[in-house]
């Protein structure tokens, strides 16, 4: 099986998607959705207590995917683990055959369902990437030698539409310097912004996987604009959803159009289907041609 890393490095356009692991230990729905996608996409992002809502450990969920022959991208946030826990999860991942890691700072604990918990943030995403790079050279953060050297393919998040871009660019360059080999971006609604972003980060050699978000209705679009930092859905798209007789079909059409428009300037797309993963083939049908 050709890995995500091999595909990206050989210039193959990749498609990834996000599947949330369950709140609970019954992984059947998670696995069903993942199996249904496995032939159509190149890797599945396993989210880490997404939005600071407690769920099954992504390490366990990603290991289940590996067992099924599905390639995961393990999302790892700094919110819930200190440097010992992050490193031991990374070594655990390597032992279980998980190589792709998306290193994230993580949403704040006050966004989620355990608001009285203690946020950790012992490291930030740049320092986590440095840690991954260090482990890959056989050393832990304290400089101790490891038994067996883990192999990772590390990535990071990017928000191409967040302003001021000049400020975020400093951090993006640090992420690449610390070892990020690919970016998975926040949802893109204005492909020209992605083009500007790709032009800015391309000199670093990093691969860019553009985030495509399935808007299910005008109401959802307005909710996102109001509540999700860094995401701005243009008024034209909201109007298009508003005028639609079948908003979900129009949302799929918008996502398909955005993915196709993004294709020329990036190395892949990452589909966030918000629970409607069965619609992903419809969104990505033109991308493989």
């Amino acid at each position: 099986m050709i890995s995500l890393q091999e595909k990206l490095e050989s210039g193959t356009f990749v498609i990834t998607a996000e599947v949330s692991p369950p709140k609970g230990c019954d992984c059947s729905e998670f696995l069903g959705k993942s199996r249904a996608l496995s032939g159509l996409i190149d890797a599945i992002n396993v989210t880490d207590n997404q939005g600071a809502n407690m769920r099954i450990a992504p390490l366990a969920a990603a290991a289940i995917l590996v067992r099924e022959g599905i390639e995961p991208i393990l999302q790892l946030t700094c919110r819930d683990r200190n440097r010992l826990a992050l490193q031991s999860d990374l070594l655990g991942a390597a032992a279980l055959g998980i190589t792709n890691i998306l290193a994230l700072t993580g949403d704040h604990i006050s966004c989620g369902d355990h608001r009285t918990g203690k946020p950790v943030f012992d490291l930030d995403s740049v320092q986590l990437l440095q840690t991954i790079t260090g482990l890959s050279t056989g050393q832990d953060l304290a400089g101790n030698a490891l038994e067996g050297v883990p192999l990772f393919y590390a990535g990071a998040a990017a928000a191409p539409q967040a302003e001021p871009f000049a400020l975020t660019l400093f951090k993006l360059e640090k992420k690449v310097a610390a070892g990020a080999r690919f970016f998975q971006t926040q949802a893109i609604f204005e492909p020209q912004r992605l083009q500007a972003f790709c032009a800015a980060v391309r000199p670093t050699g990093v691969k860019v996987i553009a985030g495509i978000f399935l808007l299910k209705s005008a109401g959802m679009a307005r909710f996102v604009n109001k509540n999700i930092p860094g995401l701005t859905i243009p008024a034209e798209l909201i109007a298009e959803l508003e005028a639609a007789t079948d908003p979900l079909a129009t949302g799929v059409e918008i996502a398909r159009r955005l993915a196709t428009e993004c294709r020329s300037c990036c190395d892949g797309v990452h589909i966030m289907a918000m629970g409607r993963e069965e619609l992903i083939p419809e969104i990505t049908k033109e991308l493989r041609q």
């Binding site: 700072t105 704040h108 930030d124 740049v126 000049a166 400020l167």
Partner: protein
Amino acid sequence: MIISRQKPFPEILAALQQTPRVFLVGCAKCATVCKSGGEEEVWQMQEALSAAGKEVSGSLIIDEACHMLRAGRDLRGKKEQVEEADALLVLACGAGVQSIAAASAKITVSGTDTLFLGNIRRFGQFEQRCSLCGNCLLTETAGICPVTLCPKGVLNGPCGGMDNGRCEVDAEAECAWFQIYELLKSQSRLERLATITPPKDFARMLKPGKLKIEK
């Protein structure tokens, strides 16, 4: 300045349920400025406790309740009133409460919650700027502390939740890294943002902190 806030009165009363006679202690420094345990608040507490059927044997405002020797000395000065009481209700920060607990064998009840080391914006308005992390980065961050002003304390630039210079946790607040960026830009020192800050040394803030000045 240590910022504290008085606990809700029903909570204080509940903590004093088994102790009918109470001696009150306030602090003339921080708790006075925060209006959690100054002369006025101690007086109001005395009135409220009396109205609730408690007997207040006396009260005392210590110049700095965190000063352990002074707290002990001042309590001894009110020895009889303290002896009459079943409990000492302290309206001072957590440091002050513990000076009292260390100086007296009586039951100590804390009447405040201690919140943070605060700057004073204007009368009655306090803001946390410093987290007492023991490893000051302010020279590198244009005099703006990301450890404190960023809810995640990230050290290498804004997190993914920043947009238009605003914070994901509090949309009213400016992102700490946006503030640092704006100031460095005005000083033509933006290249400072390119340096990676390594993981923080949290061993410098291991508890309990101790410092003994050597001559």
